[in-house]
C-alpha cells in the first residue's frame, strides 16, 4: 500500500491534523520564511526561559521551559536547514495557494469581529459577519445573504443564548429585556 496515499486528489492541502500538508521533497512558497520565523521565535523563548530561574536547580521553575525551548530551537533549526536545501514547488505561489485573498479577507473579518464584539454586542456583530461572509463565499444577492444569515443567527442565538444559557456581550441590543419579554409571553400563554 502506498503510505503517501491521502485519499483525495489534493492531498498536500493538510486537511487534517493526522495527515498534515507539505511536500517531503519540495518546499512550498513561504515555507522557509515560516521555518526561519519559528527558529527566531524559539531562540527568543529560550532566552526568556533562561530568565525564569537561570541555572538555579534542576527542579527550578525554569528547568522544563528551558529544556522545552531548547528542543524547539534545535528542531526549528534542523527544519529550517532541511527546508533551505529543498527545491521550490514550481506550480504554487504564496498568494495563490498559501495565503489567497479570501483567507486574508476572513482573517480581517475575524479581527474586526473581535474588536466589535464588546462595544456592538454579539447579535449585530455576528449578523454583520454572517451577511458579509455568506455574500463573499456564496456569490449570491444581498437578499439571499441577509435571509440565510439571519435565519442561521436566530437558530444559533436560540440554541446558545436561550438553551445553553451562554452569556455573550449584549452591546447595543437589549437582549435581557427581549428574553424577559419572551418568557412573559410564554408564561402568560401558559396561564
Amino acid at each position: 500500500m502506498n503510505p503517501d496515499f491521502r485519499g483525495d486528489s489534493d492531498h498536500h492541502d493538510g486537511t487534517s491534523d493526522a495527515t498534515p500538508g507539505g511536500y517531503v521533497e519540495q518546499r512550498r512558497p513561504g515555507e522557509l520564511g515560516f521555518a526561519l520565523f519559528l527558529t527566531a521565535a524559539s531562540l527568543f523563548l529560550l532566552y526568556s526561559a533562561y530568565g525564569i530561574s537561570e541555572f538555579e536547580a534542576l527542579s527550578a521553575p525554569g528547568a522544563v521551559p528551558m529544556a522545552t525551548t531548547l528542543v524547539m530551537a534545535i528542531s526549528a533549526m534542523v527544519v529550517a536547514y532541511r527546508t533551505a536545501r529543498l527545491k521550490k514547488v514550481q506550480s504554487e505561489t504564496l498568494s495563490g495557494d498559501i495565503l489567497p485573498g479570501k483567507v486574508l479577507l476572513f482573517i480581517g473579518f475575524l479581527i474586526v469581529f473581535g474588536l466589535l464584539l464588546k462595544p456592538l454586542g454579539f447579535v449585530p456583530t455576528a449578523a454583520l459577519f454572517l451577511i458579509l461572509a455568506i455574500k463573499v463565499l456564496a456569490r449570491k444577492g444581498w437578499g439571499y445573504s441577509f435571509a440565510t444569515a439571519m435565519s442561521a443567527l436566530f437558530i444559533i442565538w436560540i440554541v446558545f443564548r436561550v438553551v445553553f444559557t451562554v452569556l455573550l456581550p449584549a452591546g447595543i441590543v437589549p437582549e435581557a429585556e427581549f428574553i424577559q419579554l419572551f418568557r412573559n409571553l410564554v408564561s402568560s400563554g401558559a396561564n
Binding site: D8, G14, P20, A138, F160
Partner: protein
C-alpha cells in the same frame, strides 16, 4: 451492582439518552462533511458544555466521537473524499464499489462492521482498563514524566512524515502550557510582565484555534466544491455477508483496539494498518483490492471504530490521551473537576463505567442512524460550504469567548488559528501541540518531583531508570522512537533487507 447502575445510567435518564443520540447524529453529520473533523467539533463543544453537569457533557461528546469516526466513511464511499482521516482507507475500495452501483451495500456493511468494531473496543476497554489502572498505581513520578514524553513523541512520529516537525510541535505545546504562574512556586513564566499572561493561555482557546479556525480557513480554498449528492439503494446487509466477514473483522478489531490504545495514535493509523493486514491475509479476494474488495472495506471500518474504545484506555487509566479527541476530552474532565488517571478508577469508578455505558449506547445509536437515517443525511450533507464555513467561525468565536467571558481568549484563538493554518500548510502536525499543552503540567510536576526525590542528582535519576524495569521500558521506547527516525536506522534496515532477499 454500582458498576451496573453507572453503566445503565444513560438508559435510566432520558436526558442523557437523548444527548448521546443527538451527539451521535451530529457526529455522523460532521464526520460525513469532508474537512470538518470530530476534533474540531468536540473542541468547540467543550466551551459550551463546561457549565453543564459532567454526565450530560460527556454524553454529548462521546456520541459525537463515536458517530464522527463512522460518519467519515460516507463521503469516502460516495465521493472518494474521506470525511475524516480515519476513513482514508475506506475510500480505496468503497468508492470503486459506489462506481459499480453498490453504494448501498458498501454503506450497509460499513455500518454493521463499524458497530461490531466499536463493540469490541468497548468490551476491551471495560475489561482491560481496570487492570491497566491497577498497574499504573505502581508508576513513579519519573514514569509519568517518561510516559508524557512518549505520548507526545508518538503523536509526532506516527501522525506525520517528519519526526523533527512533530518534536517541535510537541515542545511548543509544552511551552504554551507553561505560560503563566508556576503552580508550585508562583514564579512567572513567559508572561513578559503582562498581566493578561499571568493566568496562562486557555487551552480551549488553543484547541478551538488550532482545530476549528485553522480548519475553516483551510476550507475556504475548497468552498466551491460541489455538494454531496447521494443515491443509495438497498442498505441492510444479509446475515450471510456479515457472517462471511466476521473472522476478518475480529482480527482487525484487535488491531484497532491495540493501535487506538497506544498514546498518540488513532483511528486513521489503525484503519490503514488493518487495511494492510486484510491485503496480506486475504489470499484470493472475489474482487481485487483497490477495485471494490469487500475485505478492503470491512478491515478499516472495524478497526477505526474499535480504536475509539482503545483510545479511552490510556486516557482513563493513565491520564494520557489516546488521540486528539481524547486529549480534548481530558480537558473536559479537568474542567469538571475530575482527574483522569489511575486514581479516577479508585475515587470515581462511576465515571469510568458511565463512559463505558455511554460509548455502548452511542454505538447502538450509530447502527440505528447508519441504517435508517439515509434520507436525512442526504439532505443535510448537501448544505453549501459557503454557509457552513462562516457558521464554524462564528461558533469558534462564541466558544472561545464563552469559557471565561474574555475577549482575550478570542484573540488567542484567532492567533492560534492563523498559526495552525500555516502549520497545516507546511506539514507540522497539530496533534502534538494540543497533547503538549494538556501534558505540560504532568510532565513539569513529575520531572520536578522525580529530580527532587533524587536530590537533584542526574546520575541517580538515570540509575533509577536503569534499575526499574518499567522506567527502563519507557525510556528505551523514547530512545527507540528517536533512533528509528534517523537516516542511519533507515540505511541499516535497507542493508539488512537487501541481505535477506539475496
Amino acid at each position: 451492582m454500582d458498576i451496573f447502575l453507572a453503566m445503565v445510567m444513560v438508559f435510566l435518564q432520558p436526558e442523557l439518552l437523548i444527548l448521546v443520540g443527538v451527539g451521535t447524529f451530529a457526529g455522523i453529520y460532521i464526520g460525513a462533511i469532508p474537512g470538518l473533523s470530530v476534533t474540531m467539533a468536540v473542541s468547540i463543544l467543550i466551551s459550551f458544555t463546561f457549565s453543564w453537569d459532567v454526565y450530560p457533557a460527556i454524553s454529548l461528546m462521546v456520541g459525537i466521537y463515536m458517530g464522527g469516526v463512522y460518519g467519515g466513511s460516507r463521503t469516502a464511499i460516495l465521493l472518494n473524499i474521506p470525511g475524516a482521516p480515519s476513513a482514508i482507507a475506506t475510500a480505496m475500495d468503497g468508492y470503486p464499489m459506489a462506481q459499480k452501483g453498490e453504494a448501498g451495500q458498501a454503506i450497509g456493511v460499513t455500518t454493521v462492521m463499524s458497530f461490531f468494531g466499536g463493540l469490541i473496543g468497548i468490551i476491551v476497554l471495560a475489561v482491560a482498563a481496570p487492570f491497566v489502572s491497577d498497574f499504573a498505581l505502581k508508576f513513579q513520578p519519573r514514569d509519568y514524566m517518561l510516559l508524557a514524553v512518549l505520548g507526545i513523541l508518538l503523536v509526532g512520529s506516527l501522525s506525520s512524515g517528519s519526526l523533527v516537525k512533530g518534536i517541535f510541535a510537541g515542545a511548543l505545546g509544552i511551552a504554551i502550557g507553561a505560560v503563566g504562574r508556576d503552580p508550585l512556586t508562583f514564579t512567572e513564566r513567559f508572561t513578559f510582565d503582562l498581566r493578561i499572561m499571568e493566568g496562562g493561555i486557555s487551552f480551549i482557546a488553543v484547541m478551538i484555534g488550532m482545530f476549528g479556525v485553522s480548519e475553516a480557513l483551510q476550507q475556504l480554498q475548497n468552498v466551491n466544491m460541489k455538494a454531496v449528492r447521494q443515491k443509495i439503494d438497498r442498505i441492510v446487509p444479509s446475515f450471510g455477508t456479515i457472517k462471511r466477514y466476521l473472522p476478518l473483522s475480529l482480527q482487525t478489531s484487535s488491531i484497532g483496539v491495540i493501535i487506538g490504545a497506544l498514546p498518540g495514535t488513532g483511528g486513521d493509523i489503525a484503519a490503514l494498518m488493518a487495511y494492510d493486514h486484510a491485503k496480506r491475509v486475504t489470499k484470493n479476494p472475489e474482487v481485487p483490492f483497490g477495485k471494490g474488495a469487500m475485505e478492503g472495506l470491512v478491515a478499516p471500518e472495524t478497526a477505526n471504530n474499535a480504536a475509539v474504545g482503545g483510545a479511552f484506555i490510556p486516557m482513563m487509566t493513565l491520564g494520557i490521551p489516546g488521540d486528539a479527541v481524547t486529549a480534548i476530552m481530558i480537558g473536559a474532565l479537568f474542567i469538571h473537576g475530575l482527574n483522569p488517571g489511575p486514581m479516577l478508577m479508585i475515587d470515581q469508578p462511576d465515571m469510568f463505567w458511565f463512559i463505558v455505558g455511554a460509548l455502548f449506547t452511542a454505538n447502538i445509536f450509530m447502527l440505528i442512524f447508519g441504517l435508517t437515517g439515509i434520507k436525512v443525511f442526504t439532505k443535510i450533507v448537501e448544505m453549501p460550504r459557503a454557509i457552513i464555513i462562516p457558521l464554524i467561525l462564528l461558533l469558534s468565536i462564541v466558544g472561545a469567548y464563552a469559557v471565561n467571558n474574555s475577549i482575550t481568549d478570542v484573540y488567542w484563538m484567532l492567533g492560534f488559528g492563523v498559526f495552525g493554518y500555516f502549520m497545516r500548510h507546511y506539514g507540522y502536525p497539530l496533534g502534538p501541540v494540543i497533547l503538549g499543552v494538556i501534558l505540560s503540567r504532568l510532565l513539569d510536576e513529575n520531572w520536578r518531583r522525580a529530580i527532587i526525590s533524587e536530590r537533584e542528582d542526574l546520575g541517580r535519576f538515570f540509575e533509577g531508570i536503569l534499575t526499574s524495569p518499567l522506567s527502563f521500558v519507557l525510556f528505551s521506547s523514547v530512545i527507540l522512537i528517536f533512533v528509528s527516525q534517523t537516516p542511519l536506522w533507515a540505511a541499516t534496515k535497507t542493508r539488512l533487507s537487501g541481505k535477506a532477499s539475496s
